[in-house]
């Protein structure tokens, strides 16, 4: 199966997740080996996803836990959980 660039872009997400049919995956790899544009799209997408998954990209706001605890402390005294 010969894939064009557009087809490769559509499948990049599934390629990253490893959920592609083996024959489509092989065709993609064949395309990627010869198309530096698509290879750069794959590499950059993969790199960006790797960076956004890093816990340093999304940290809890400073004092988040303390404020949550304080809010709960002030409110929970006024109410009880519904019993079963």
């Amino acid at each position: 199966m010969v894939l064009d660039c557009k087809h490769v872009w559509r499948e990049i997400s599934n390629y990253i997740d490893g959920v592609l049919d083996p024959s489509v995956r092989a065709s993609m790899e064949e395309h990627l080996a010869h198309c530096r544009h698509c290879a750069a799209v794959l590499d950059s997408t993969h790199n960006i996803l790797y960076l956004i998954a890093d816990e340093r990209t999304f940290t809890l706001p400073a004092g988040f836990s303390e404020r949550l605890h304080a809010r709960l402390e002030s409110e929970l005294e006024k109410s009880e959980p519904a019993s079963r």
């Binding site: 557009k6 872009w9 559509r10 990049i12 997400s13 599934n14 990253i16 997740d17 959920v19 530096r36 544009h37 290879a39 750069a40 799209v41 590499d43 950059s44 997408t45 790199n47 960006i48 996803l49 790797y50 960076l51 956004i52 998954a53 890093d54 816990e55 340093r56 990209t57 999304f58 809890l60 706001p61 988040f64 836990s65 404020r67 949550l68 605890h69 809010r71 709960l72 409110e75 929970l76 109410s79 009880e80 959980p81 519904a82 019993s83 079963r84």
Partner: protein, 229 residues
């Protein structure tokens, strides 16, 4: 009175970014199960509720943030959701994990807040972004120089990535944060967001290409700075 020694228990659905520890008592060093903690909270040990929700903080914050795009709004929604969960704890049947239940409550709260704020302002253009078969094109680059994770020490890189997420329409941001930030699997993402597995894959493909298109050109332009560390 039971003294709470640890700060957490082993009940929340966690990924590598979401920390975990255990709660034990002076009389029993075995970590409490989720069901035991909930029973004891309902019986009056209110302070255990903090330990129940502590491991879920990052997950619920990210969920609220994925809808609202505002840290302050997300934080308020998390507080409301935690209170709601506490009050409704007696109705929690344990069919799902507590964390799944709490995240779902948070998602609903965040969506309700977003709907209220939209009703008060103009209708968002996001409403008109459909799931049709329109083309989604990435930023086509001639090459790519990998940005190492150490570069995340730079504030401007973190800001750039977050700006990229902010620019995504809500439905794509929700999927991307669930799948690629919280690292839920496709089935869990579908269940949380109430959409089909096929829809998760479609939105994920678009969300990933969109964020690549927004972020990659700038990252590439600044690549030398990031790769130098």
């Amino acid at each position: 009175m039971v003294l709470v020694l640890g700060s957490q228990f082993a009940g929340c659905r966690l990924n590598s970014n979401e920390t975990q520890s255990t709660t034990t008592t002076t009389t029993d060093p075995r970590p409490l199960t989720e069901a035991e903690m909930i029973s004891r909270i309902i019986a009056g040990e209110r302070e255990l509720f903090y330990d129940l929700i502590k491991p879920c903080e990052r997950a619920v914050f990210l969920t609220a943030f994925s809808v609202l795009k505002s840290e302050a709004d997300a934080e308020e929604v998390v507080q409301e959701a935690a209170l709601k969960a506490y009050k409704a704890l007696g109705s929690f049947r344990g069919e799902a994990k507590f964390s799944t239940w709490l995240v779902k409550i948070t998602l609903n709260e965040a969506r309700m807040r977003l709907r209220r704020s939209r009703a008060e302002s103009e209708v968002s253009l996001e409403e008109f972004v459909d799931d049709g078969d329109s083309d989604y094109t990435p930023a086509v680059l001639t090459d790519w120089r990998e940005i190492p994770s150490e570069a995340l020490e730079r504030k401007e890189l973190r800001a750039l990535l977050r700006r990229g997420l902010d620019e995504l329409p809500e439905k794509y941001r929700e999927v991307l944060i669930s799948r690629d930030v919280r690292e839920l699997n496709i089935e869990e993402t579908a269940q949380l967001l109430g959409i089909s597995i096929g829809m998760v894959k479609t939105r994920l493909f678009r969300a990933r290409l969109m964020i690549q298109k927004i972020v990659a050109p700038e990252l590439r332009a600044q690549g030398k700075k990031y790769t130098r560390g």
